[in-house]
Point group: C2
Chain length 226, copies 2
């Protein structure tokens, strides 16, 4: 078997430990998102900004006293939870992630999410960055392919920008449109707070050979984020 380019680590962790971890780290990351937005919008004097900067550096030093060596990766607990905490869209421990909570519907072969994009996701004034629309749709599309029983890697993604998306409440949905062997076509949209479609997209997902071999060997589906 060819070596898989990705590996999912496994850790021994009870459901209770998992819930505790979610509360503790989820709290820190949520606080960091708030601080990030405050740092963008604040108009306090330079002296206060310098003071806060020094405190932020101190806190970073504190957390850096013990760290995993590189990226977080995707870690599966022995009780079956998937910790994709570093994921740039859904990561519980990633202040860059909005984050999205994505609901997969396995009967329908779809995935959807309602979320808020703060001023940290701005492109044109007051509008969602076109690339942020692509970022969230890529994740929702990948989860739709997985929900439809055809997990895979993004092969191509085409985005049609119908109109600018206002910052704030948004929603996204994607579904498996059709399958052709190892290829799965997913379609979907991004809507603004008014419920108007602002971006339409189509994606082609391909299950790479190493993953097909891995699945055949283990008889299992690849892990899903939560």
């Amino acid at each position: 078997m060819s070596r898989a380019p990705f590996e999912y680590r496994t850790v021994d962790m009870t459901d209770e430990e998992f819930a505790d971890e979610q509360a503790v780290y989820g709290g820190l990351t949520q606080a960091l998102r708030r601080l990030g937005e405050a740092s963008l919008r604040t108009t306090v004097d330079a002296e206060t900004v310098r003071l806060v900067t020094a405190q932020v550096e101190e806190m970073a030093e504190k957390l850096e006293t013990a760290m995993i060596p590189g990226n977080f990766g995707v870690v599966v607990t022995t009780s079956g939870h998937v910790r994709g905490y570093g994921n740039a869209v859904v990561g519980l421990r990633n202040p860059v992630a909005p984050p999205l909570r994505i609901v997969q519907d396995r009967d329908e072969g779809s995935a959807s999410s309602a979320f808020v994009l703060s001023p940290l996701y701005e492109g044109p004034p007051g509008k969602v960055h076109g690339g942020v629309a692509a970022l969230v749709l890529d994740q929702v599309f990948g989860e739709a392919a997985a929900a439809g029983g055809s997990p895979g890697m993004t092969g191509t993604l085409t985005l049609r920008y119908r109109k600018p998306t206002a910052l704030g409440h948004c929603s996204a949905k994607a579904w498996v449109d059709r399958r052709d062997g190892i290829k799965t076509v997913v379609k979907g949209w991004l809507k603004d707070a008014e419920g108007e479609v602002t971006v339409e997209a189509e994606g082609l997902f391909i299950l790479p050979r190493w993953a097909r071999e891995q699945l055949a060997e283990s008889g299992e589906a690849p892990p899903q984020y939560e």
Copy 2:
């Protein structure tokens, strides 16, 4: 004239004040990026995480005592600098932005950038999130269109994922391939640290009617980020 959906505010600011502001806020945002990565990778005990969380909330309160009402927007100084500080890809005051420094070549009609994607931009384990590749390319593509004298809004963007992109050093380039009236076709790529193309993309940029009218009225090009 139809009302433009976006507005660029102007502030009275000297070059020196602008440089000071960049140093002060650039420093805070850089510290926040460091803290964000530490929060993802740390293995310190839960008590320390709770302590840091409380300190982060305190600092957010301090910065929130005086804030602009909503999003940052794009602000042009009287000395001609463009402050797109909230931009999700290049924003100086946005901890979500990696950030990219994009160099525009007006002779060639291109834009390029060399940058680092930290573990905060992860998708598959150890790899850049496919949506993050789209996020950075969308910005580089928009700037290439502008550098080529055809600023516009993203109409469509098609991404072809050739292979996974390792986290770390990356580069991106985009150039105007051809023009057809108000439409501009931009092509480009994302490369990994080895210099291999991992994502190819093509974008169609359209100058909307309100912008054409605004340009005709002012005789000026729209502002470019710095």
